[in-house]
């Protein structure tokens, strides 16, 4: 095996081990992993979290996200003068070799104007558009906020 190929394979293996699952979608090295939407406690509002991993050698940027339900807005949370607020994010850079993890209290996709509440066990279609990778389509499982946080805590503990 050529050295370059074996190095690439090793990197892929390491990436796969850190998440324990193949990507939900991937193109030109930009991969989506671990996509979860939340069962909506309000009839019309929910959230979507996913991880983008850039396995390529060049930076990529997410520039749009949409779902099969309602409106989707990428947000981050900022705290200023004692108040936490959501700020819409137009471009989400994913540097080469880096991962961006959407997490409670940080990056998340707000789902609003839902036609019907999301229920645990469902899944929704998601399309995330990147400058380099183009549009990646994948499905996000719906789970309760409690299950989502428990899963992310476990995942975070694994990673740390």
């Amino acid at each position: 095996m050529r050295p370059q190929a074996s190095i690439a394979l090793a990197a892929l293996a390491a990436a796969a081990c850190s998440h324990g699952a193949p990507p939900l979608a991937e193109n030109t090295g930009t991969a989506v992993l671990e996509a979860y939407a939340t069962a909506s406690p309000a009839p019309d509002v929910s959230a979507l979290y996913f991880t983008v991993e850039n396995r390529g050698a060049e930076a990529d940027t997410m520039v749009a996200v949409s779902t099969s339900v309602g409106e989707a807005t990428l947000h981050t949370v900022e705290t200023k003068d004692g108040r936490s607020s959501m700020r819409a994010v137009e471009r989400l850079p994913v540097p080469a070799g880096a991962s961006v993890h959407m997490r409670p209290g940080g990056y998340h996709v707000m789902l609003s104007a839902l036609p019907a509440p999301l229920a645990a066990g469902d899944s929704i279609g998601v399309a995330a558009t990147f400058v380099r990778a183009g549009t990646l389509r994948f499905r996000a499982r719906v789970m309760t906020y409690s299950d989502l946080v428990a899963r992310l805590e476990q995942d975070g503990a694994d990673r740390r």
């Binding site: 406690p41 004692g82 959501m86 209290g105 609003s112």
Partner: protein
Amino acid sequence: MRSADTPAAGRLGRIRPTWGIVLLIAGLAAGCGGDDARSGDRLWGAVLDEPLTKPDFVLTTTAGEPYDFRRETAGYVTLLFFGYTHCPDICPVHMANIAAVLHKLTPDVAGRVKVIMVTVDPARDTPDRLRAWLDNFDRGFVGLTGPDSALAAAQRSLGLPPAVKEGSGADYGVGHAAAVFAFTADDLAHVVYPSGVRQVDWAHDLPLLVAGRWRAP
């Protein structure tokens, strides 16, 4: 923010009330290290330098009844949060975490904890909507609303800047304090729980708060 030279400090370190809470979000992220400093009876929440007095306000429940906060919660561990139901992230995550932990604790502990969410978005959070939202987490959680002036006064009484509407249109957001205040039976809040607090933190602290037994920092 665990620090070797201040072994008595809680996992998040000690902070000044109110404005210092802001710093804790960063502190929490930085403080998620090993378990070695998290033993004994130290609280894992953010212990305040100066405890906060339980505020004195009367708001309205989702059933339309007046709720005298000090009187109704006397003797209970009381978790007070200011949030809103169009909030997709911080608010439901706090409520879900607290509910999940309460449902795992024994009734003699869980039964001594009251959870109160005061809306910061009374225009959209009708009593019915607030009730239905809270019921997703726990039917015993208390939802309170009232006139803007009363809601702002309740926040100011804790030293919080009142929540503000952000953006326009039907989908506006609300900027608000992200921490849950934990009052104990002494009618003081010695500890707050910022956004980012985890279920394991609640599971560790709630029994200590109910028992009134934790090591002073």
